[in-house]
Amino acid sequence: MASLARPGGFAVKVISGSQQHVNFVAASPAAETVSAFREVPAEFTTAEARQAAVTRSTGGVFTNGLAVKGINVTSRRLAHTDVTFPDMTSYRRDSTKNTQTPARDTEDQRRALPSALYYGAGGVLSLWAGKEVVQTLVSYKAMAADQRALASIEINMSDIPEGQTKTFEWRGKPVFVKHRTKAEIAKEKAVPVADLRHPQHDDERVQKDEWSVVIGVCTHLGCVPIANAGDFGGYYCPCHGSHYDASGRIRKGPAPLNLHVPAYSFKDTTIVIGSS
């Protein structure tokens, strides 16, 4: 919509006749608060200005003093500061809020595609990479497949005659299963606990007196002892000369601890190693 008063670059000099005049008044304050247009009647410094004023006002028979209001043209111009705009700050990007910053400086922040690619594709890739790392670590640390297949083994008790010791492989380690004789049982039960380097009574190490189950790894440096050998009728580690008795307790030599007893249980005629 057009505005009524726009002085153009059109200069006219009147040679004769009355002066052309655009009668235009602009109200600069907001319409709500306008004060009286002029408390003092217009002051005219020259007689010519006065004559122009009286002349331009008095034209017309019916249009003299006619009150007119523009409907689709602005009949008054408000200063731009009067116009109230809705505050869209909360909807705007942070990068555009600082009016002192040139738009080109924040251009990159307002481009969506690079961010979407960087964070979207990058995010997917890093999730995938993280998953790979975790998966690799878990499978690396996890039990080997052949071992997992031997998680528990069953040993038929009738395969081991009394007085014999047999070696089985369980989870990559040798397990000694010893079918003890009555003499051996009596001898081990009678060992004074206080004299032992790693004091454990035989009752703590066996579930049934006839059967002693220990892991065949020397507690000194990890060699595999020899069954039914040594000074105490149990096991002897040839590496550094550790002697274990028939309950698997350390009796002589450098090893600090008794042979470990794995978790095992009896099931009918079998011993199940790896389950308790």
Binding site: M1, A2, K13, V14, I15, S16, G17, S18, Q19, N23, V25, A27, A31, E32, V34, S35, A36, F37, R38, E39, V40, P41, A42, E43, F44, A47, E48, R50, Q51, A53, V54, T55, S57, T58, G59, G60, V61, F62, T63, N64, G65, L66, A67, V68, K69, G70, I71, N72, V73, S75, R76
Partner: protein
């Protein structure tokens, strides 16, 4: 030289008479005036006998409210749609009011005139005055009041002085206290009574008469109804003064002028006012010519003046507008009144030519002539400016002297500014 100018003026007259306006009163009571000058821009006015004088005593300012409501919702269309459509067709639309008429004026490219007519009908005659829109209109009234010029103040006050308590004294503008005083139903009632076919006129300049007539007859937008008569307001005379700071004072002095329908009196009045001095013949002349009434009146220093007229139904005003330094205002008013009462017309032919030229100039402006057609048609004025011009050509010095003798026996004087030296009207003999 002079004879060639006269012959050219006569040629112009002849050209003008070829496109004489077609005026017609339709069966539904609406008056239609069409004048086709074959111009590219059509001027359309739909006006009613509904100016400020039709307000009741308790309705001062109502017409101002109604005028500023134009462009809001109409009864059948949203206001925004109407205003938008008019703007989209490149039209300019104004609402206006004088003491006699109220209406809407549209300037539009000729090709879109029929379209603009349909907008005009709804905008001017079918306002809905929705109560919730009142709030939106009030600031525009405040803005109007803030833009009063010294002339508009002194001109309004002159009517208060001249017509005292009668209907023509009612201001075109609402007073500050009356802003928002009118409820929707009061405005609707005024519109329903006044904005009807028997009380209106449809004026079109540069538009085919048949388009105008077909719209007026067939659109049915303007409700049928009968003419509304106004209360008479004879010229009574008196004083009205309003103080304002400063060294200047704006003064209007008027006597009983010609009413709209008295063509002979209006012709004499125009010649008389041309003698008194309507405007400066030179750009930097301080007075309207040494042979003019004001020039001969020997006004004191710093005083400038120009004659004016305002014709209404049944009454009129004619006189001068002065701007004077406060100190000289007593002498200025007395000298001006002397020039009005006792005109010393030395060049009656020159005065007549100036009066005719002014009428032709204003009829050249199709907006102004649309306003004039609307007022003349509603109040039995001359159908064409040619009627007035041919009357002017018959005027002689005696007519002018007789007019001045009768018109200025009683005076109306209004002043805005430092008025303390201005004599009251009954002190001037």
């Amino acid at each position: 030289m002079r004879s060639s100018l006269v012959s050219k003026s006569a040629a112009a007259l002849k050209a003008n008479s070829q496109t004489a306006p077609i005026k017609e009163k339709l069966k539904n009571g609406l008056t239609v005036v069409a004048q086709d000058n074959n111009g590219a821009v059509s001027q359309l006015i739909l006006a009613f006998r509904a100016g400020a004088r039709y307000q009741s005593v308790t309705q001062q300012g109502l017409v101002h409210h109604i005028r500023n409501f134009v462009g809001r919702d109409a009864q059948s269309y949203p206001g925004l749609q109407l205003v938008w459509s008019s703007a989209a067709s490149g039209a300019q639309m104004n609402s206006f009011a004088s003491r006699d008429i109220f209406g809407v004026q549209i300037s539009v490219a000729r090709d879109d005139a029929a379209y603009a007519l349909s907008i005009l009908g709804h905008v001017a005659s079918k306002p809905a005055f929705k109560p919730w829109e009142t709030e939106d209109v009030l600031p525009t009234i405040r803005a109007d009041l803030s833009q009063k010029t010294p002339y508009s103040r002194v001109f309004e006050d002159l009517h208060r002085a001249a017509f005292r308590n009668d209907s023509l004294s009612y201001s075109l503008l609402s007073s500050k206290n009356q802003i928002g005083a009118f409820k929707s139903d009061e405005m609707s009632k005024f519109a329903a009574k006044h904005f009807v076919s028997g009380n209106g006129v449809l004026v079109g300049i540069n538009i085919d008469h048949n388009i105008l007539k077909n719209y007026a007859e067939e659109s049915g937008t303007i409700s049928e109804g009968s003419i509304v008569m106004n209360h008479m307001a004879p010229f009574r005379g008196g004083d009205y003064r309003r103080f304002a700071r400063g060294d200047n004072v704006h003064i209007m002095i008027a006597g009983a002028g010609a009413p709209i329908n008295d063509v002979k009196q209006r012709a004499v009045q125009s010649v008389f006012l041309a003698h008194v001095g309507r405007s400066s013949p030179l750009k930097f002349a301080t007075l309207p010519g040494t042979q003019s009434g004001l020039g001969l009146a020997n006004l004191p220093g710093g005083v400038t003046g120009s004659s004016f007229q305002a014709a209404y139904d049944g009454s009129g005003l004619a006189g001068v507008y002065l701007i004077s330094p406060a100190a000289n205002s007593d002498a200025a008013v007395r000298a001006a009144v002397g020039a009005l009462r006792k005109p010393k017309v030395q060049d009656i032919e020159g005065c007549k030519r100036r009066a005719i030229a002014e009428i032709l100039f204003s009829s050249e402006n199709s907006v102004l002539s649309a306003y004039e057609h609307a007022t003349n048609a509603l109040y039995k004025g001359p159908d064409s400016s040619n009627d007035l011009i041919s009357e002017i050509q018959k005027v002689d010095v005696k007519d002018v002297e007789k007019f001045a003798d009768g018109a200025f026996q009683r005076l109306a004087i209004s002043a805005y500014g430092n008025y303390f030296r201005i004599p009251y009207s009954d002190e001037i003999h």
